[in-house]
């Protein structure tokens, strides 16, 4: 039935440069999803806005580096290029590492989202059913291949970005108390600055998965601006949600709330519709499906690399095992970790830390890669390949 959708033999085939807007949307959605779902209760003081801006600036720098790397003509391309650069063993280790991180990230995102749906929309429904439905939606999308998934980013962006508009009334008085934002300049160090910074840094994580893009997917002239615009949009969104939550709740009440952003949605009353969360929360499913599918495809690619079967043209057969692994991870985390609030928070914390680590590792990786490329470039003339 899906045959005509699936003409490309390989999941990862990309026919030509991807629309620059797709990159913008991708960066933006992959960053903002986790933040809005788990708006962590660490951002409790108005002066923490500076930490947000600091993390944002670092993230901007990071993405600038990444875009510069992607624009380089001499960077290694595809599987063979990377093998030549890093060697098989290192790549295998990288793949293992990436596979496990991607699976855990997927599972935590899915479960976090399902948790909100379960709490607010369908309290008496078994959450497993909803997890399964979302997983199959991801599988369907993943079967269409990477190119289609990247294009789905446009849908996921359009499907969720309008949500921001509903929060705009909360920055005006009657709802907002501007004194809640004072004192904006801190008289002392905010508590746990490192922890706050890392949580935020994790909220900006995600674009590091673009590191291995094939050359033909990248339009060198426009990739940098489109990635940076995506990041800038995320920054605007974060600052906006931060300010709105503070204006509306005040820092003292805010630190007692679990999901202030979702709670705020429930406060919206329009004259013709009252329970808007029934529309808004499901809309986030677009984002969840998009990000999870993207990571699922990465997991499939990692599996393919680990088995060393990359020379086989069909990457499709690795999607099945990757999907099974994702199901197992999700089930395992749901069974052991997600049973109570403590476990949930611990998993979210771990997820944040791993995200922060991978995103922070990006410039280091880029530096190593650049050094190796240089070295290889000199050796290339002698036709030597390191292993």
């Amino acid at each position: 039935m899906m045959k005509h959708n699936v003409h490309s033999a390989d999941l990862f085939d990309i026919s030509g440069p991807v629309e620059p807007l797709s990159w913008t949307f991708m960066v933006n959605r992959i960053q903002t999803l986790s933040y809005i779902l788990f708006f962590p209760s660490t951002f409790i003081e108005p002066s923490m806005i500076w930490i947000i801006l600091l993390a944002a600036a670092c993230s901007h720098l990071n993405i600038w580096l990444l875009a510069n790397w992607l624009r380089r003509m001499d960077r290694p391309d595809g599987y063979f290029g990377t093998v030549r650069l890093l060697g098989k063993t290192v790549l295998w280790l990288f793949s293992l590492f990436g596979l496990s991180l991607a699976l855990v990230k997927c599972a935590v995102l899915l479960l976090g989202y399902v948790d909100i749906v379960n709490n607010i929309l369908f309290p008496s429904l078994d959450p497993k059913l909803f997890v399964a439905l979302l997983l199959f939606a991801c599988l369907y999308l993943a079967r269409l291949g990477m190119e289609k998934t990247l294009r789905f980013g446009v849908i996921s962006f359009i499907g969720t970005v309008w949500v921001v508009l509903f929060y705009v009334p909360y920055i005006f008085p009657a709802n907002a108390d501007y004194y809640h934002l004072l004192p904006l300049i801190p008289e002392r160090m905010p508590p746990h600055p490192w922890h706050t910074f890392l949580t935020l840094w994790a909220a900006f994580a995600g674009p590091e998965y673009l590191l291995m893009l094939p050359k033909q997917a990248v339009d060198e002239r426009r990739i940098q601006s489109s990635l940076l615009i995506g990041n800038a949009f995320s920054i605007v969104e974060y600052v906006f949600f931060f300010v709105v939550c503070h204006l509306f709740y005040g820092s003292q009440y805010l630190r007692r709330l679990d999901l202030p952003v979702v709670q705020l949605v429930r406060y919206i009353h329009l004259p013709f519709a009252e329970r808007l969360e029934i529309i808004i929360i499901p809309a986030y499913a677009f984002s969840v499906v998009y990000v999870v599918t993207f990571l699922l495809l990465y997991a499939a690619a990692a599996l393919r690399m680990m088995t060393g079967a990359s020379d086989v043209p069909s990457g499709r057969k690795w999607l099945g095992p990757a999907f099974v692994m994702l199901c197992l991870t999700t089930m395992a985390i749901q069974y052991w970790g997600w049973a109570n609030e403590m476990g949930k928070n611990r998993w979210i914390e771990w997820h944040n830390w791993s995200d922060a680590c991978t995103y922070a590792a990006l410039p280091v990786l880029l530096m190593i890669a650049a050094l190796l490329t240089k070295k290889r470039g000199t050796r290339h003339a002698t036709n030597h390949s390191p292993d």
């Binding site: 709490n119 004194y179 809640h180 004072l182 004192p183 008289e187 003292q252 009440y253 406060y267 009353h269």
Partner: protein, 374 residues
């Protein structure tokens, strides 16, 4: 041919999926309309044994009598559990709009009441919170007997209207909680007097933490509203002591601190027109009008100072004056320090009244007569 059949079959599958959205898995609780009764209001009281009394109006579904049911329980959600056992339909609180609390319970503390409501995802944060003095159950029963079956709906409409008008104190759960945890302000709720005959706005109940400690009653409440908000329009502002009513009042209030936070200066500017006046002074005479305006200013000032004296003696800060100490770079008091500091503070109120029109009718004196001649 093939593609058309395929498209039709896809459309069918999509339709079936769409229809299935209404279905749910087998173990889900039923929400059949005939079996539930969504309540609009909840009244919480406490009896002498310390048990909670929870009452609500059961909405009618078919041709049945609306009635008030009451249960007594130790916990709020236990009360709901008991209601389900007492009544033949399941009670749903998704449409809950108002929580009335008796003043006895309000004086004991409301934190548990409110947090149990907030923790329930069915209940919106917008539920109005009202303190009622008197016998609410009698009132509701009386209304239902007088064929005023929609009383709960009318009450909700009334609160929604007052909230939009912004002339009275109206609080919902979120606003109460926000101010409860805010170190620089204290929560307030509207206070209503209720008996078998009627339900009437009395003023503002003042809370220290989550306990009601006092109230600003009716004639003073309008001054309290002016002091509470940065700028506010009031349809009318009666000054009974001077036999005057000002109408279309636009009031602005400024708070500043002098003498290194030992003094608060509150400047109130009131602009409006005289709508009612029963004194012998001739307001069309500029000098007399000016002296009359000064009397009004003195009067309002002393009334406002009295209100502030009252809230200071209760050591509560419902006007959020503490918030105004905060600056872009400064926080001179922490929340606790402010609470200690506030009752000892010197507060000066300065009122400026600007009468835009001194009444509709000019005095019967000829406008050609020279001024100053009687």
């Amino acid at each position: 041919m093939q593609p058309i059949i395929r498209q039709i079959s896809r459309a069918m599958i999509f339709l079936i999926l769409l229809m299935m959205c209404g279905c749910s898995s087998f173990n889900v609780k039923s929400n059949t309309v005939e079996e539930i009764s969504p309540i609009i209001l909840l009244y919480l009281d406490q009896n002498k044994n310390g048990q909670l009394l929870i009452s609500t109006i059961i909405p009618p579904l078919k041709k049945e009598q609306k009635s008030v049911i009451t249960v007594s329980s130790a916990l709020i959600k236990e009360g709901r559990y008991q209601m389900d056992h007492k009544y033949y339909r399941e009670i749903k609180s998704g449409q809950l709009r108002m929580v009335f609390v008796s003043d006895t319970l309000a004086r004991k503390g409301l934190k548990d009441v409110i947090s149990s409501q907030l923790l329930d995802p069915e209940i919106s944060d917008r539920v109005y919170l009202v303190v009622a003095e008197g016998n609410m159950i009698d009132y509701l029963n009386n209304q239902l007997q007088q064929k005023q079956a929609q009383v709960d709906f009318y009450l909700y409409k009334m609160f929604a209207h007052y909230e939009k008008q912004q002339e009275l104190t109206i609080t919902n759960l979120k606003q109460f909680m926000e101010r409860l945890y805010d170190p620089y302000s204290d929560p307030v709720t509207p206070l209503f007097a209720v008996n078998a005959e009627g339900f009437e706005y009395q003023g503002t109940a003042l809370f220290q933490d989550d306990r009601m400690v006092g109230a600003i009653r009716q004639p003073d409440d309008v001054y309290f509203q002016i002091l509470r908000h940065k700028n506010r329009h009031h349809k009318s502002m009666p000054i009974t002591a001077l036999d005057t009513t000002l109408g279309e009042v636009y009031a602005t209030r400024k708070i500043r601190f002098t003498d290194s936070y030992r003094e608060v200066q509150i400047d109130v500017h009131i602009g409006g027109r005289v709508e009612e006046y029963r004194d012998n002074r001739d307001l069309s005479d500029p000098t007399e009008a000016a002296s009359w305006v000064r009397t009004v200013e003195r009067r309002v000032e002393s009334d406002m100072e009295q209100i502030i004296q009252q809230i200071k003696s209760l050591s509560v800060d419902p006007l959020s004056i503490g918030e105004h100490t905060l600056g872009l770079m400064r926080r001179p008091f922490t929340g606790d320090q402010w609470r200690k500091h506030w009752p000892d503070m010197q507060v000066n109120v300065r009122v400026h009244v600007n009468v835009e029109q001194s009444g509709m009718l000019k005095s019967n004196r000829s406008i050609f007569a020279p001024k100053g001649r009687r």
